[in-house]
Symmetry: C2
Subunit: 203 residues, 2 copies
């Protein structure tokens, strides 16, 4: 019969935590340059445990990507609070993004997806798929807010929500790349502001 606890020796780790630690390694080094030794050390799991729980290196990386994607969507929907004006929403999206992108020990890490998944996208179809899907989901979430903005009159009636959403994302992609390239916070914040102005109209 079934029992609550499953049989056998219990795991001495939390899968979510382990994926988070692995994500840090992948974020700094990229997929290819991250060795299983490093991942094993960072997660405090032996390699056999890593394999038993997550499969091979690519699957662990895909889990980390998926985890990041979910976190990002959560942050995005927080930022797009419909109780606030569109302009504030968009500014909040960029501010929250920059907070993440500018974090890092040796240098600003940028966006985990854009900075590391792009490099592998040609050779690993599954990584390319996650990357593409993530970008689209992001666009779609912003698009919904843009549609609401058109309904409410925050944007002109002839504005195309899908197009504006992709442009809003474009600014964020640029913030991601530039952060990792070493741009200063000031430069990036200025780009964010001008992006808001361009899309929402100058204040």
């Amino acid at each position: 019969m079934k029992s609550e606890k499953k049989q056998g020796r219990p795991r001495a780790f939390d899968a979510k935590t382990v994926i988070g630690r692995a994500r840090e390694v992948f974020w700094d080094k990229g997929f290819s340059a991250a060795s299983l030794d490093t991942l094993s050390a960072a997660t405090k799991l032996n390699r056999p445990s890593l394999y038993g729980a997550f499969g091979d290196k690519e699957e662990l990386y895909l889990d980390a990507l998926e985890d990041y994607r979910e976190d990002s969507m959560d942050v995005l929907s927080e930022a797009l609070d419909p109780a606030l004006p569109l302009r504030e929403n968009l500014a909040s999206v960029y501010a929250r993004a920059l907070k993440i992108y500018l974090h890092g020990d040796t240098a600003a890490r940028g966006c985990f997806l854009i900075s590391t998944a792009t490099a592998e996208a040609i050779q690993h179809a599954r990584i390319r798929e996650v990357l593409g899907r993530s970008l689209n989901d992001f666009d779609d979430a912003i698009k919904e807010r843009m549609e609401l903005a058109v309904e409410r009159g925050e944007l002109p009636t002839d504005a195309d929500p899908a197009t504006l959403a992709r442009l809003a994302s474009a600014v964020m992609h640029s913030l991601a790349v530039r952060a990792r390239a070493g741009d200063t916070r000031e430069t990036l914040e200025a780009l964010a502001r001008s992006g808001v102005d361009l899309i929402c109209g100058r204040k």
Copy 2:
């Protein structure tokens, strides 16, 4: 005394050609995943020859980055022909970029710099420097054309050339990422058009 030809056995290869072939490998696989065996095969040079001529793998990669940067700047300045209207210039920049980004055997390769250098930017300071410098040079070239546009009245007098240039670049960064993520040509061309509209004003 000195002679035109230098002493010793002459090289059986052209350095520029070799860097170009290496660039193809790095572009598809990224820096870390590109092995010296693969590079040696693609360039048809033995590893000792590669080392003698270019140094280690990172230096060869930096040469490839620099080569790409120069090519890109050439393409950019062709596209920004001041004899043509700003709108056509910008459309041309994006069209030429997409032509490059959408090329590839198994999948669209995107931008060599953005797709592969970002991944290494944290661990390799020199790569980060080249990446940052390249993005800035690109912005600056567009900025110059924007300044001319303000002088000529193609843009309103209160338009800020530096800001507009960074936004124009932002759209291109997004094209680069999205191309590598598997977006269709149509989607990317639509983004390019809306970018032109947003920056130059809707036609």
